[in-house]
């Protein structure tokens, strides 16, 4: 498919309350990329009520905002969202689409790429634009982060990339920025949505929100059992963080596998990641190495976790962690 415009689209995902959950961060790098492509930075919002997100997108630098609203979009379904986004892509044929690699983003992006038989690169961590061709150069880590490949999709438009979460920071919003607003209408009949949500079972415990946590306290084989996790939970509580684990601990059943970080679990990039009794196997490290600051506490001075940590303490976590908790409490008393 050829592009009708040089615009760069950022898909802005919203929560059920209409607030943006992903995409505002992508407007930041999107601005420069759109400029290099010679197009407008365009935010695309699909949701039940898009007003809050429209305002946020304008403040965060979007030149244009295209929205589709309606009851059927209040909660994400593949059929409704791929229908609406597919409609917009068909109509506008943009040069590029960036989509945050949330669970929904990763559900939607390949569906759209497959529909339009176009190129898609997953989980990118950086972009450039080839000046002569307008090709988006997409950087993505492979083999658990041991290599980075840069890819292009020449002759295929729109070029679609999903973007690893927490890679970019959103720019400071500036109020009263004007953006061109286009409200499109596209209705999906209820019976053409082939999935029906029967029930939502909320898991209110903090571990369900690992991806959002700013501080994560994580334990591995060295935690020795469920008792070790009680200690880590205490540390997480005083820091306002959540508890996670490496595979050694979830395999032993010391903590549910929904808390697993790594290749077969979740990928996180919090502000602070404290790894306790975790050796640092590649399959764990690839899920947390993008954290801003990594602290490792381990008895083995040769544990590979120290190679990727910013601060390392060689010692018994059952002695270091309680003492550290006391320090935090003392400072806050």
């Amino acid at each position: 498919m050829y592009a009708k415009s040089k615009d760069l689209w950022v898909f802005v995902e919203t929560g059920e309350d209409g607030s943006p959950v992903s995409g505002l961060d992508l407007l930041n790098p999107g601005k420069e990329l759109a400029g290099k492509q010679g197009g407008a930075l365009t935010a695309v919002i699909i949701g039940g009520n898009n007003e809050a997100a429209e305002k946020a997108c304008a403040e965060c630098g979007a030149d244009k905002i295209i929205t589709i609203g309606g009851e059927e979009y209040a909660r994400y379904t593949t059929d409704a969202y791929s229908g609406a986004l597919g409609y917009l892509v068909e109509k506008y044929r943009p040069e590029t689409i960036l989509i945050g690699a949330t669970a929904n983003g990763r559900d939607l992006a390949p569906r759209i790429a497959s529909r339009f038989d176009t190129g898609i690169v997953a989980d990118c961590i950086g972009f450039e634009v080839e000046e002569e061709t307008g090709n988006l150069v997409c950087m993505r880590p492979i083999s658990s982060g041991s290599m980075i490949v840069s890819c292009i999709c020449p002759g295929s438009r729109p070029q679609i990339a999903s973007v690893r979460l927490n890679t970019f920071k959103k720019s400071a919003p500036s109020e009263n920025r004007a953006a061109e607003r286009i409200r499109e209408k596209y209705h999906v009949q209820a019976d053409s949505i082939r999935t029906v949500i029967l029930e939502v079972i909320n898991n209110k415990s903090a571990r369900a929100n690992l991806e959002d946590a700013e501080i994560i306290v994580s334990g591995g084989r060295g935690t020795g059992g469920e008792g070790g996790f009680v200690l880590l939970r205490e540390l997480a509580d005083v820091l306002g963080g959540v508890v996670a684990a490496s595979r050694a601990a979830t395999d032993e059943g010391w903590i549910p596998s929904s808390s697993l970080i790594g290749q077969t679990g979740k990928s996180v990039a919090p502000k602070l990641y404290i790894a306790c009794g975790i050796s640092g196997a590649l399959q764990h490290v690839c899920g947390m190495s993008d954290s801003d600051v990594i602290v490792a506490i381990n008895r083995d001075a040769n544990a590979p976790i120290f190679e990727i940590a910013d601060y390392g303490v060689v010692g018994d976590m059952f002695k270091v962690v309680p003492a550290f908790i006391e320090e935090v409490k003392k400072a806050r008393a």
């Binding site: 593949t78 390949p110 077969t264 602290v295 990727i308 390392g312 303490v313 270091v320 550290f324 320090e327």
Partner: protein, 269 residues
């Protein structure tokens, strides 16, 4: 009911065996053990659990890969699969995720000719080597089927599939019409092991091989490097961090105090 499970053979990274050839910047695959991708094991187990409650279910496994990928389909027979297909052709090698989705979609149509209607197609949510998570949705779109990604459980009821989908903050129970595509994340349960009896049978099993010529609907211009939209420009090995600032005081208490001091001075906590 036929459930098709799509599996992939990947290098065994459990033991950190991935090494990079510094001369070519590519992954050294020689001598690396290959195994079934983890999430595909959960997909296979999910199918086996449906079969546990309904013995009329037939589990068909397929993989697209080189001749060596026969090992993973054989393994799936030794665990729970009833039939297995190996889709292999030199023309398929070097396909990107979308070209692979196309090959799988066409192969599924061919397998339906041979096995009858397929009600549900299960994938791992992503392969642990490529990690694109694109092939399941890519195939769903090519076949025009609904999809539910990141499932951690499934049952069959009244001609529909009831999937438990992992979402932010919990689980969605989703009823989806068949035929459908489900992709599986890590559930709370573990896959079953193979049995000696099934292993012996799997070793003897004849595994049908489908090449590009056996699937006449395949347009060879849409597969392999030429049919792939994504082109690799460069590969590079990222710079390693310089290593941790080590804190090693006389006692654990002193180390903890020093760590706290450093983190609070740097405004980290």
């Amino acid at each position: 009911m036929n459930i098709l499970v799509c599996v992939k053979q990947v290098p065994d990274t459990e033991n950190d065996t991935i090494k990079i050839d510094p001369a070519t910047n590519t992954v050294i695959r020689d001598g690396v053990q290959c195994v079934m991708s983890d999430f595909d094991r959960y997909a296979l187990e999910a199918a086996a659990r449906i079969k546990d409650s309904d013995s009329s279910v037939q589990i068909v496994v397929m993989t697209v890969g080189p001749e060596q990928a026969r090992d993973v389909v054989k393994h799936s027979l030794s665990v729970s699969a009833d039939k297995a297909y190996l889709i292999t052709d030199p023309a398929f090698s070097g396909s990107d995720a979308m070209a692979t989705s196309y090959i799988i979609a066409e192969a599924i149509k061919k397998i339906e000719d041979l096995e009858g209607r397929i009600d549900a197609i299960f994938f791992g949510k992503q392969a642990i080597d490529g990690e694109t998570a694109q092939v399941g949705p890519g195939v769903a779109e090519k076949l025009g089927y609904p999809q539910v990604t990141c499932c951690v459980g499934v049952s069959a009821a009244d001609g529909r599939m009831i999937a438990e989908k992992e979402v932010k903050g919990g689980i969605e129970r989703v009823s989806v019409s068949v035929p459908c595509i489900l992709t599986f994340a890590k559930p709370e349960w573990e896959p079953r092991f193979s049995t000696i009896k099934r292993k012996l049978a799997a070793n003897k099993a004849v595994i049908p091989v489908l090449s590009a010529n056996d699937i006449p609907s395949i347009d060879k211009n849409r597969v392999g490097p030429a049919g792939s939209k994504v082109k690799i420009k460069h590969t590079l090995v990222p710079e390693k961090k310089s290593g941790a600032l080590m804190i090693n005081e006389e006692t654990p208490e002193e180390s903890a105090a020093e760590l706290f001091k450093k983190l609070s001075r740097a405004n980290i906590i």
